[in-house]
């Protein structure tokens, strides 16, 4: 509880303070997420998705107002989820998503900058998969399902740290929380690109997930 209070206080402070950055220029960065798909290749049997390339390019644009920034992200993910049991066999998915956010940052030191932001997310995903019923008397039944153009809208909130690496390079570590709603929810999905893994037992129309992202950015202006 105490940590949570400090966290909210930090966000409040970062919103309220104007960073004393007198050299503010409208810099912009392009970036790429570097760790998102790694666990699915290294630990395909432990992680909730397997062999899934996730490509997430980013664009950061500083606003004229000091310490304010716009953040745009696109994403593409294609792969399949892990097989849990007979009733949750793996699902193949392919999705594209877009996110944008308004973020506020606060200088903590010359190298480390805290930031927080929020913004909308939209994701369009296609699914297919199998399901299996045991039939001891007459034989097993194996069925297939397919959903195309499943759209979800959501809101993402995040905070994290920028680390200035070298002249033009920026490393961004982001902790994010995203909530969304699917427009059509015929089948429960294990992984929704752009929204991540939603734990079982929750309504299959609502998506809720948290995550971590590590990005490398290059200053283009």
């Amino acid at each position: 509880m105490k940590r949570l209070a400090i966290f909210f206080m930090l966000i409040g402070m970062s919103v309220a303070t104007r960073a004393q950055d007198t050299l503010a220029r409208r810099a912009s960065y392009i970036g790429l997420d570097v760790i998102n798909s790694l666990p699915s290749f290294i630990l395909p049997d432990k992680y909730y998705i397997r062999n899934t390339p996730i490509i997430e390019p980013y664009y950061l644009l500083d606003l004229e107002k000091t310490a304010r920034r716009l953040y745009f992200g696109a994403g593409f993910a294609s792969g399949d989820s892990r097989e849990y049991n007979n009733f949750n066999p793996s699902q193949a998915f392919r999705g594209t998503y877009l996110r944008a956010a308004y973020e506020v940052r606060r200088l903590r030191s010359a190298r480390r900058i805290l930031y927080a932001g929020y913004g909308p997310v939209i994701s369009i995903v296609g699914y297919n998969g199998k399901f299996h019923f045991n039939g001891p008397t007459f034989g097993d039944y194996e069925g297939r399902f397919k959903e195309t153009n499943n759209i979800a809208f959501g809101v993402e909130g995040y905070f994290g740290f920028d680390f200035n690496l070298a002249n033009h390079w920026l490393l961004r570590l982001t902790f994010r929380n995203v909530m969304g709603r699917r427009t059509a929810a015929d089948t429960r999905v294990q992984y929704f690109p752009g929204f991540g893994y939603t734990i079982e037992g929750l309504n299959n129309r609502l998506l809720y997930s948290g995550g971590l992202s590590l990005q490398i950015h290059y200053k283009i202006r």
Binding site: F87, P136, T137, F138, G139, Y141, G143, N204
Partner: protein, 160 residues
């Protein structure tokens, strides 16, 4: 405070798990009732079955008291299932028609159900009288805490 939240979480988790009626997520079975049964039922044989075990276990353990009802598995692969009933004095055939349903139900994953066929004929039988009632195997929503009866499913009344 922290522990209280944990307890609430666990309790709500148990509730979510136990309140949902998923129905049988396996091969479905129709309940067969024999009306004023005076005939001796020796065995039931299901056509196109890979194993008769589920039926044989029931007919082997028949006692005078409860052999007026048995539970017969219906096929997941086909929309019709045929049984041969062997009594001491006669042999009867019963084909039941139905429509399989496979769908995703929130909190359960995929479920299986059977409903009345779209065609007019619901059965073919050599019994003197046959009646089939189609009821869902899956209760529509949450199961009530007090009246926790499972859904009835298909039931067949036959008069040899």
């Amino acid at each position: 405070m922290k522990h209280f939240l944990l307890v609430i979480l666990i309790l709500s988790g148990i509730c979510v798990q136990s309140c949902i009626d998923c129905g049988p997520q396996a091969e479905l079975s129709a309940r067969v009732y024999f009306e004023h049964d005076s005939l001796k039922l020796d065995s039931v044989y299901a056509l196109n079955a890979v194993s008769q075990e589920a039926i044989r276990q029931q007919t082997d353990n028949f006692t005078q008291r409860h052999y007026y009802s048995i539970s017969l598995p219906i096929s997941l692969i086909s929309d019709t299932t045929t049984y041969v009933f062997r009594f001491t004095e006669r042999i009867d055939t019963l084909s039941v028609y139905y429509q399989r349903v496979f769908r995703d139900k929130g909190g359960c994953g995929f479920i299986t159900d059977a409903k009345a066929p779209s065609t007019a004929s619901r059965y073919y039988s050599t019994f003197s009288k046959t009646e089939i009632y189609y009821d869902t195997f899956v209760n529509p929503g949450l199961q009530s805490w007090i009246n926790a009866d499972p859904a009835a499913g298909m039931s067949i009344w036959i008069q040899p």
